[in-house]
């Protein structure tokens, strides 16, 4: 089953060449990940700068995204750097016995790092609670600026949704709000699986395009547009 969920591509491109992602119905372009893990691991183990650079270029963005997703943006750069150092040191020590499993190895390291950060945060909270019981309750409410930004953003997105067709909005609502299964949506809206995929993809694209236009015209574009993780 999982095999069918992965799209296969043969690529003869330079591994560091980045290709802009296209829309899903057109297919996903080849990845830039190198496959000659043995060479890369050997270079890192030998302490060669080329290998270190390739390793950092390969994993830094993914690690940054993963850590940001799991732990939030606080001290993100430090955590990325720490994780990278752990991977490099582990490779140098020879902990990675099968170079072709480099990606799985990095994942294990990153997951352990996430668990360690969470455990550390738990300990810190507990220790602080012991010292000053009741004084360390964090205020999780938004500050006035954040609340205003969220209100403006929600209002913009509402106007975007209002400008979409009823069917597009209905499909997105059923899937992302009601969390109906694809089969249920197809049955209740009399759609084939292909129609559903196409309509959902187009609705998402339309929502994104309209949203970008509204944000750009609202003058708050830089606030809402994500440059990258964190």
């Amino acid at each position: 089953m999982l095999a069918t969920q992965m799209k296969r591509y043969d690529s003869q491109e330079d591994p560091n060449t980045q290709t802009a992602p296209s829309s899903p119905e057109k297919g996903v372009p080849p990845t830039s990940a190198p496959s000659n893990w043995a060479v890369l691991v050997a270079q890192v183990r030998a302490g060669q700068d080329e290998g270190m650079e390739s390793l950092y270029r390969l994993f830094s963005r993914g690690i940054r995204y993963y850590l940001c997703r799991q732990l939030g943006p606080q001290e993100l750069e430090d955590k990325v750097h720490d994780t990278f150092l752990i991977v490099v040191n582990a490779i140098k020590r020879g902990d990675l016995r099968e170079p072709e499993r480099l990606m799985g190895f990095v994942r294990t390291v990153v997951r352990r790092q996430v668990a360690a950060y969470i455990e550390q945060a738990v300990h810190t909270r507990r220790d602080q609670a012991d010292l000053e019981s009741g004084a360390s309750v964090a205020d999780r409410t938004q500050n006035p600026e954040q609340a205003a930004i969220l209100r403006q953003k929600s209002s913009l997105m509402r106007s975007v949704l209002e400008s979409m067709s009823d069917r597009d909005r209905e499909i997105l609502k059923r899937f992302y709000i009601d969390e109906q299964s694809q089969e249920d949506i197809c049955r209740e809206m009399a759609l084939t699986e292909t129609q559903f995929r196409l309509l959902k993809s187009r609705a998402k694209t339309k929502f994104g395009e309209l949203g970008r236009k509204r944000l750009a015209s609202s003058g708050v574009f830089p606030v809402f547009m994500r440059a990258n993780s964190g």
Binding site: M6, P15, P34, R61, I63, V110, K153, K173, Y176, S201
Partner: protein, 204 residues
């Protein structure tokens, strides 16, 4: 550097990952891939942006529409309107009757001859028709007399006057509903009336 077969997760699988719906096997596949694939990181960031924007936007839309929707009234808030409708309905139900009444009042008056002697059967007249009444006024003073019509329980339903001439008096009565009535003739000044004669008639 040798390039081998590389795979990307499908859009559905990435979407499941973005929405935290992956099972263990799926999670391992996506996480392992995403850590080393900038393209899929970009795709995930776009998905995250969409989800971050769509859900609050849709909630805002629902809220906005609920504000625009007229306030839902409880049942007792509709009582004045219901009462008005009921009154209107009652009025409407009387329209045929009133029309009938008007039609009847426009009809020519019924002639009704009344006598005051005992033993005579009560005179009859149709309901809801104006009456032109002729009274036998033998032995009554030939002058203007007061007239009172009462129903079967003695309540006055009409007052007027008539002049007696040649042992007879006439008067016009409006249409009345069915029932037993008594017509009384009085003489004398107001406050000192003297009953001279009483007639009875039946409206059917």
């Amino acid at each position: 550097m040798k390039i081998t077969l590389v795979t990307h997760p499908s859009e559905d699988l990435l979407e499941k990952f973005a929405r935290n719906r992956c099972n263990g096997d799926e999670l391992e596949i996506v996480e392992t891939h995403v850590l080393g694939c900038e393209i899929c990181v970009t795709r995930l960031e776009e998905l995250d942006d969409f989800l971050d924007a769509f859900q609050p936007g849709y909630q805002e839309l629902q809220l906005h529409r609920s504000r625009r929707r007229p306030v839902r009234r409880l049942w007792f808030h509709w009582m004045p309107a219901l009462a008005g409708a009921a009154v209107f309905g009652v009025v409407l139900s009387f329209v045929p009757l009133l029309s009938h009444h008007n039609a009847r009042t426009l009809l020519p008056a019924v002639q009704l001859q009344l006598y005051a002697e005992r033993g005579n059967e009560a005179a009859n007249a149709p309901a809801l028709r104006p009456l032109h009444v002729r009274l036998s006024a033998t032995d009554l003073p030939q002058r203007l007399l007061s007239v009172e019509v009462v129903n079967s329980v003695g309540s006055p339903v009409w007052n007027g006057s008539t002049r007696v001439a040649h042992d007879e008096a006439t008067l016009d009565l409006p249409a009345m509903p069915a029932g037993a009535y008594f017509l009384r003739l009085y003489s004398g000044p107001r406050g000192q009336l003297e009953l001279l004669r009483e007639y009875s008639f039946q409206i059917n």
